[in-house]
Structures are given as C-alpha cells and as structure tokens.
C-alpha cells in the first residue's frame, strides 16, 4: 500500500514522536512541532501514538492512495476535499483508490498533520521514522517530500475505528493566555531590568522560523555578562539570546548544544501553542516556577490522554448494502463510514 504525493507545499515531512536518548551523540529529537496534534491525528484513525504521519507547514497538498485508506487531519482549520466533497478536520475519513485528497491552507495555525491508518511505514533510522531535515536522517530519504514521492503505508489496524474529536475537545487548557516560561539556565547573565522586559513587553513571531528555531522580535535583551557562554546543553523551548539581543526559541530540530545564554525556557505544555502561532502574532511571556511548570505538564498529559480515550465514534446512519455485504467478507469492521456509505 502506498500514498502518493501529487503536489505539496515547501515543507511536508514524515514525523513520528521523534528520537529519544541520542542527544549525548549530538542528535536532537526532531519529531512534530505540535506533538498533541499528531497524537490526535493518529488516535482518530486508530493508530498507536508511535505511528508516523505527515507534518506540513501552511498548506497540505494533494495525495492519492492505491488502496482504500482512512485518514485524519489536525493542527488547525483548513479545507479538506475527498474528490470534490468537503470533509471536516479532526475526524477520520475514507479515501478510495484513485480519488484525490486535497488539503488546503491552514487558517490561524502553522503546522498541520495528516495521519493515515497504519502509519507511514518508512524504515526506522536511529530508532525513529521522524525526518531530521538538517542532517538528512529518517523519513523519506531524510528530506522534505515532493510531488511524485510514493510512501509505503503500514497495515491498518485490524478493527478500523473511525473517530472524531468534539469541538469542545482541546489538547490544551490554556489556549489564549501568555506563553509560560521557567527562568534559566543562564538568567543570571541578564540584569533584573532586562528580565523584567521579558514579561512586561510583547514579542512577535517573525518570518525567520523553521523546525530548528523561531526568531522573535521585541525589546532588546542585552546580557550584562555577555552573549557567549562555553557551550552547554539545549532543549526545545529554550530561549537563546545571541549578540543581536533578539531572542530565538529553539524548536524540535535544534542542535543539542549551544553557545548563547538561555534566559528562560518555554514550558513543554505551551511550546506547541507557540509553534502554531502564525507569523506576526504578538504575545506575552509569563514566568512560572519549575514546580508549577511540572504540575502543568502532568495535568496536560492527563488531559490529552483523556481526550484521546474519549473521542466520539462517528454517528451511525442508514446501513448501506456495501456495509452489509462487507460484514460477510471482512470481520471486525467498525467504521461508520463503511456503515453509512457516506464517504
């Protein structure tokens, strides 16, 4: 089974949860910019959370499969068409072989996810399928996908579930508030006056952004102890301040060590929200202490888990004769779209 990319934007890549345990060898995790959205896309079509899907920036593209497949799109609102029929995001749909799946521009979001039941079945490289674009590792030939690429699909789950997220369901309980940060590890390089600017003034997402880092525009943040440190470890969410005084937030593919002071770190629960902000968005930071940030991480993990376990089975409609026939041929089908013949 394969999925063919007919056309796409400039930034479509295969991502799973990313690589763990290799930072001491200089390999950062990569993986999705918005992990809860990829987890949701996978759950909607019955995949495990470790399955690989596609991540796109801005615009999805056009796809075709050589077998019937089930898929879901998450990350933000966008127009999805199966053939010429519109389909909502955040639910599972069926695509017949030869039909076109079109995924348009995201509205109010930056990163979108397309999961296919069974997952994208490229070989693992260093224990993950995630594409590390900077070093050309994993994914499909270690690169962004382009028209004509054919991606192998894994076997779909034995019982294809077809789920949808309710509009009220969200992976985060804190959708509009400030982006929360924990100060450090090099907050001591900055005066109290400069640290106060970090929360008292607004910052803007600039177009200088990719899977490695997001450069912010805002008040300058000069480091009184200088902008060079002997390199130490970094992590996604760390806010580095180079000599320009313009901070950059490190993202999924950032290098593992760096020589700029890190004034603070975006808490793990708010990093996907920062990643999803469209270019030009203004926002504020708010400081929380580490203990509070850990409490939030624990609550948000439980919240996401509850959400993924409580997805709604798509409503039954009139049983189609196709479905009744399929009952005799294939056991264990539980996808309502099969039942209703709607898709």
């Amino acid at each position: 089974m394969t999925l063919e990319v007919i056309s796409t934007g400039p930034m479509l890549s295969i991502q799973d949860q990313g690589r763990s345990g290799l930072r001491h060898f200089g390999v950062s995790a990569a993986g999705p910019m918005d992990a809860p959205s990829l987890a949701l896309a996978n759950a909607l079509c019955g995949n495990s959370t470790t399955a690989a899907g596609l991540e796109f920036a801005g615009v999805g593209g056009r796809f075709r499969a050589d077998h019937p497949i089930h898929f879901a799109v998450t990350g933000g609102d966008c127009e999805i068409k199966v053939g010429d029929r519109l389909r909502p995001t955040r639910e599972c749909h069926r695509l017949e072989p030869g039909e076109d799946l079109q995924i348009g521009f995201l509205r109010g979001a930056t990163w979108g996810y397309l999961a296919i039941a069974g997952g994208i079945d490229v070989p693992e490289v260093l224990n993950a399928r995630a594409t590390h674009l900077r070093f050309g590792l994993g994914g499909h030939e270690g690169r962004v996908l382009k028209a004509g690429d054919r991606l192998p699909l894994g076997p779909p789950p034995e019982e294809q579930t077809c789920l949808r997220a309710l509009p009220s369901m969200s992976g985060s309980s804190h959708r509009d508030g400030p982006i929360r940060i924990v100060l450090g590890p090099q907050d001591g390089y900055f005066s109290d006056y400069v640290k106060a600017r970090l929360t008292e003034e607004a910052f803007t997402i600039t177009p200088k952004r990719d899977r490695m880092a997001t450069v912010l525009e805002g008040p300058p943040l000069p480091a009184e102890r200088g902008h060079d440190i002997v390199s130490d470890g970094t992590i996604a969410g760390a806010i580095q301040v180079p000599g320009s005084g313009q901070p950059m937030v490190l993202m999924a593919e950032a290098q593992t060590t760096g020589g700029y002071p890190k004034i603070a770190t975006v808490i793990s629960s708010d990093l996907p929200r920062l990643a999803q902000m469209v270019t030009g968005t203004q926002f504020r930071f708010a400081v929380v202490d580490r203990d509070a940030a850990e409490e939030i991480a624990i609550e948000e993990a439980a919240r996401l888990d509850r959400m993924l376990r409580n997805l709604a089975v798509k409503a039954d409609r009139v049983l189609s004769s196709d479905y009744l026939l399929s009952c005799d041929l294939i056991g264990g089908f539980s996808c309502p779209e099969q039942i209703t013949g709607d898709d």
């Binding site: 763990s20 345990g21 290799l22 930072r23 001491h24 060898f25 200089g26 390999v27 490289v125 260093l126 070093f135 590792l137 924990v182 100060l183 450090g184 590890p185 090099q186 440190i229 002997v230 390199s231 130490d232 470890g233 970094t234 992590i235 969410g237 760390a238 290098q255 593992t256 060590t257 890190k262 770190t265 975006v266 808490i267 793990s268 629960s269 580490r290 203990d291 940030a293 850990e294 939030i296 991480a297 624990i298 993990a301």
Partner: protein
Amino acid sequence: MKPTFHPLGDRALVVEFSEEVDVAANDHVIALGASFQATPVSGVTEVVPTYRSLQILYDPIQLRGAALEAEIRSRLTSIELTERPARRWRVPVAYGGEIGLDLEELAEMKGMTTAELIELHSSAEYRVFMIGFAPGFAYLGGVPKALHTPRLPQPRQAIPAGAIGLGGQQASINSVPGPSGWRFLGWTPWRAFDPNRPRPFLFEAGDRVKFMPVSIEEAREIAKRIAAGEDIARPDDTP
C-alpha cells in the same frame, strides 16, 4: 567540586560544575553521567555531558526536578573520580590536500614548516569534552597553545565529513558535511557518524584521541575497507 543546579524548563535540569572549559569539571560531568548508566533512576530519560555541565532530561510524571536534585546531591558524595579508564583512539589523518586546505597557510601564520605543524598536531593527546552541534561531532580540547587559531570571519559552505579542524582553542573531527568557520588541516577516512553502522557513533565524551599521520594513499585504502563494511575504526585496547 560542588555544582549549581539550573532548570532548563520542566523536563531538563542542568548540573553545572564550572562556567569555563575545565578538565576537572568535565571529569565530574562524565563521572556523574556514568553513574546514571551504572545506576539508572526511573524517570530520567537522557543524560547529556557537555564541557562543564551535565544536562539531565526527565519525565515530570515520574520524577520531579526537586527530587532529582536531591538524588544528585547524594550521588555526588559517593562518586569515584579517580582513574576512570578512558577509551583511547588513534585516528589516521592524511594531512594537507584538498580537504586540509588550510595546512600551508596555517604553518606560515605560525612560522613553522608544514612538517613541524603536523608533528605538533599529531603529538598532542586530545580529550573529547563533548559530542554536540551535529551527530557524532566531537569537541576536542588539549590543543597545543601554538596551534590556537581564530576562526575564519566567513564560514565556508561545504566542508566534508572527516575534515580535521581547528577553531579557537578547540579541535574537531567533522562528522557530517556542512558549513564551518574552522580551519582544516587534513582528512580522516574514519566516519565519526554513520547511521547504517551497528554502532553509528564512534566517539563519546571522555574519550582520548591522538592523530596518526598517514599518506593520502593509505587513507584512501582505509576508506575503501570501511566502505566495504570492515569494522576497523576501533579504539586501542583499554586496560
């Protein structure tokens, strides 16, 4: 040596032994890191040695930062620093040539012949302070003072893997092709990083490295054997 603790968000802790490049601090970093391999702590997901601090990643659902700090404090009282056996590597280098494009200019800058420069560079023993920047990229300390060299004002775009570099007070064995503002003296046929090998990464923090001059023909022969799958890039037998 008493470290300071610095949170790096809600999933990582920095245990800092020094703000400078310091062999004693790096010894502590590596010893503390090794203690997590010998006696793992549930909830610790990754341990990353750097020049002067140990970065510890954890899952706050299983382990809180404050509890991790307490665990490290108690570990530090019992850590053995003395005579840890380090792996020693003798890395073959073809000096000069297309990749070691800065050899002659550097010799001239230092008022040496290229032979003297090669002798100095290959007689020192280097320490792998950390792996970072790129997969398998080894930051080497222990560069003889006479070889300390400022970086280029403009980075070059395409430095190949295996290039042997000097940048400031540091030396490198480049692991992946890419841009670099360092100066390059030669090329090793060894691959510090190869994702298709059973052990994809050659070096790790704490290793010791010496460079062994070989001719370009010898280097190419070694490259051929490695490409054919021979596992010849190995450390010396450790005691």
